[in-house]
């Protein structure tokens, strides 16, 4: 018995592969046809082969739990998620527009603060944000770019419209998994690559290196670019090492670097100190420099901020860039785009209520059973309330937290996430997905064709985070 798409029902959600039971979308035709030609047994075999490939390629992520770190195999589903090239071109333009505007915004708030004077964004919201860094005021990074690497989370509603759910401007992760997913798919479905033309994604690391190199304060053909990792116990260590390897850059830890009397950054090598031009830092602002931020941090480099402010080294992303990925700032992004670019946003925001505003807060507290409430500064899906799924008691407890610190919360309607066919224990079933494309801004812009598709493996669930049982898929932009 071969698999039939007639028995696959996305139940009213926008499905990425199938427009209605039995009818694949144009971009998904090849994939759908191929799946249809396989028996359930063959599909299970491919899924198992993929899981073995993931294991032997050592694609892992680390979960921190009860005081220990566990290195787990990266969860990957064999059925690719397909998006038409036409849909994608629009998304790509929207992402570039968004990051451009956000960089204008960050540059403005650390310098002229025109946007405050023009009354578009209330200054207290920014200046009181836990991600605002006083130490960065007056800094003018090259190209006016503060967030050089951005990962925005996109979702698709029931009608297929893309929305931005959040921006990640600090240390977004996941791009290595996007690249590795494609490699695994090539191992599992080599025949599909002969039949389909999907846009290649392998150039990402070249573009990343070019972006980073363009930030170098010294004019060199090959500036010294390094990736700064908190170390092997960080959940994204795999990615840090992967990116360094792909770019041919040194992977450094804080103890490898020091700032000398000339305020330049050097790394300790077997031939003595070597000057560093650009640091792609994968550690949080607050751990960067114990002289300026957390004094007890051993992850960073004493004097690093001094070097950066003096312009002897570039940091990507720049310290302080995170002020713009705050979920409270998110609500202003459409206004920010209009203000700096004089354009309408190409990709809309999800409707969001700011609990800091009384009318909005009252609405949120009254409708907790219908809304999703998120803390403004957390990531990874931690500390949020999914109202419709929560118990009355959980909602009451959460209401208390909102009242005691309204600035820290925003709320959104429970927006639908699109589905994609996924291999489940009972066969192929629809599961909810999101998408994290990666956007670069240095001398130029670059957007990954597609991105990392994350999938909630539990039926009906919207929780796609790998730290909480989510999986992933290869993502194909099909022309």
């Amino acid at each position: 018995m071969k698999f039939s798409w007639k028995n696959y029902d996305p139940d009213g959600f926008y499905d990425e592969l199938i427009s209605s039971p039995g009818y694949p979308r144009t971009a998904g035709r090849t994939v759908a046809r191929h799946i249809r030609s396989l028996t359930p047994e063959e599909i299970r075999e491919r899924q198992m082969a993929a899981e073995i490939a993931v294991k032997t390629m050592g694609i892992t992520f680390t979960v921190y739990s009860q005081g220990t770190n566990i290195d787990r195999a990266w969860p990957y589903d064999i059925i690719p998620r397909t998006i038409s090239g036409k849909d994608w071109d629009r998304v790509e333009a929207g992402l570039i527009q968004r990051l451009t505007a956000l960089n204008h915004f960050i540059d403005d708030i650390y310098n002229d603060q025109k946007i405050f004077r023009d009354g578009i964004v209330p200054p207290e919201m920014i200046l009181e944000s836990s991600n605002y860094r006083e130490a960065c005021a007056g800094m003018k990074p090259k190209f006016g770019a503060w967030a050089h690497i951005c990962g925005s989370d996109l979702i698709r509603d029931r009608d297929g419209t893309f929305y931005v759910l959040e921006d990640n401007l600090r240390v977004p992760s996941g791009v290595s998994y996007m690249l590795e997913n494609r490699k695994v798919t090539k191992r599992v479905f080599p025949e599909l690559f002969e039949e389909e033309n999907m846009r290649p994604i392998g150039e990402y690391t070249t573009h990343l290196f070019d972006t980073l190199a363009s930030l170098s304060p010294r004019k060199l053909d090959y500036p010294e670019v390094v990736v700064l990792t908190p170390g092997i116990y960080n959940s994204a260590y795999f990615e840090h090492s992967y990116l360094a390897q792909q770019m041919g850059a040194e992977l450094v830890e804080g103890s490898d670097l020091f700032v000398a009397d000339d305020d330049c950054v050097y790394m300790r090598t077997i031939s003595g100190p070597a000057r560093v031009d650009v640091i792609y830092r994968r550690i949080d602002d607050l751990f960067l420099d114990p002289e300026v931020f957390e004094p007890d941090s051993a992850l960073g480099v004493p004097g690093l901020m001094r070097a950066w402010l003096k312009g002897t080294v570039a940091l990507a992303n720049a310290p302080g860039a995170g002020v713009a990925d705050d979920k409270a700032v998110y609500t202003y992004v459409p206004d920010i785009i209009r203000y700096y670019l004089d354009e309408d946003p190409i990709i809309p925001n999800v409707e969001t209520w700011r609990c800091s505003e009384k009318a909005a807060r009252d609405h949120v507290l009254k409708n907790l059973d219908k809304l999703v409430v998120k803390p403004a500064n957390e990531s990874g899906g931690y500390g949020m309330l999914i109202g419709p799924a929560a118990t009355e008691r959980e909602r009451r407890a959460f209401a208390k937290r909102i009242r005691s610190n309204p600035r820290n919360y925003v709320a959104q309607p429970l927006i639908s996430l699109s589905t994609c066919p996924t291999v489940c224990p009972g066969g192929i079933e629809p599961r909810h997905i999101d998408l994290r494309p990666f956007v670069l801004q240095g001398a130029r812009h670059y957007v990954t064709p597609g991105g990392l598709t994350r999938v909630a493996l539990v039926k009906g669930s919207y929780v796609v985070n790998s730290s909480q049982g989510g999986g992933s898929k290869d993502t194909w932009i099909v022309d």
């Binding site: 032997t56 390629m57 260590y237 450094v252 103890s255 020091f258 077997i270 031939s271 003595g272």
Partner: protein
């Protein structure tokens, strides 16, 4: 190249070598037992002495029998030199230098780690042990082969190589030492303390062959010395042969060559050269005649320690710079 990376690559080399050596030794010790009359206890105790683990073992186990000793070497998480812990350490080191070593190195080590987790129980049982150990040795050879054929002879390779050879030199010297210290008394014990003049105990040859076999040296030794396996010839071969890649002289010379290719190498090369001379210029027959071999080997190990210290001092992160 980063100092921290140099240090981790060096230790990766040491751990890889240690894994292979341990697997070989356990295999050979298990086999030689089949040739010998009881009691075998002394043999297992001599294995513990080889690796300097007598005390650590005694803290954890009451009896040095086959079951306990094999468990101690294969699977004991409290024994830092057990195969399980060495593989875990090699994997951690490989993971932190993943961008430096060829990707199949990482995959090979990761594979070996997975294999170990799945097959430890089979390896502990006597019946499955041979297959288990053979797999471990083959996996190491596969990893080393991959490094050998795909890694540029850059600084990282030299550190890896120096780590491998210094570990190997150390291990060979220990095995020779223990061959002497433990095999002879054991043989005397077998014969009530009396070995007739000029003749060999039938087991002496068997035991020296096992020493050679634990270093995979028997075949090469036979080509060089086609007569009966004798202590003085074996010791000379294992310490001074220039061409056999597990002989101490060869290993320490290889360390010196690797260090030679690195920047600021004066201190470390001087230490390695002094070790090379020490082993090469020794009069082994005279040392054996005076029964000073144990002291001589102690001296060699002090040399290896000095080479290691010089490497650390020259190229690794200063102690204060570490987390």
């Amino acid at each position: 190249m980063l100092s921290r990376v140099a240090e981790r690559v060096y230790w990766l080399g040491r751990y890889l070598e240690r894994i292979e050596n341990s697997a070989r030794m356990i295999g050979v010790y298990g086999n030689v037992l089949l040739d010998l009359p009881r009691p075998a206890k002394l043999i297992w105790e001599s294995l513990l002495a080889t690796t300097g683990s007598t005390e650590l073992f005694a803290e954890r186990y009451s009896r040095a029998d086959e079951r306990n000793v094999v468990k101690f070497y294969l699977a004991d998480k409290t024994n830092p030199t057990s195969i399980l812990m060495s593989v875990t350490q090699a994997r951690e080191n490989a993971r932190t230098v993943r961008e430096i070593v060829p990707s199949n190195t990482w995959e090979g080590i990761n594979d070996l780690h997975l294999y170990l987790l799945d097959h430890l129980d089979a390896g502990l049982a006597r019946r499955g042990r041979d297959e288990f150990l053979t797999h471990v040795i083959n996996a190491c050879q596969f990893i080393i082969g991959g490094l050998d054929s795909t890694m540029s002879r850059d600084a990282a390779y030299q550190f890896l190589s120096a780590g491998r050879y210094i570990e190997r030199a150390d291990m060979t010297s220990r095995i020779v030492d223990v061959g002497l210290a433990n095999v002879f008394p054991w043989v005397s014990w077998m014969h009530g303390g009396e070995v007739p003049d000029g003749s060999q105990s039938p087991y002496e040859s068997v035991l020296w062959m096992s020493v050679l076999r634990s270093l995979s040296a028997l075949q090469m030794y036979r080509r060089l010395v086609p007569e009966r396996v004798r202590a003085d010839e074996v010791v000379t071969f294992l310490l001074q042969d220039r061409y056999f890649p597990r002989a101490v002289a060869h290993c320490i010379h290889a360390v010196q060559e690797s260090l030679d290719a690195l920047p600021n190498d004066e201190l470390a090369v001087a230490a390695a050269l002094s070790a090379v001379r020490h082993v090469r210029d020794a009069d082994i027959d005279a040392i054996l005649a005076r029964e000073r071999l144990h002291e001589f080997i102690d001296g060699l190990q002090v040399d290896f320690g000095a080479v290691h210290d010089a490497i650390e001092q020259t190229w690794f992160l200063p102690r204060s710079g570490r987390e």
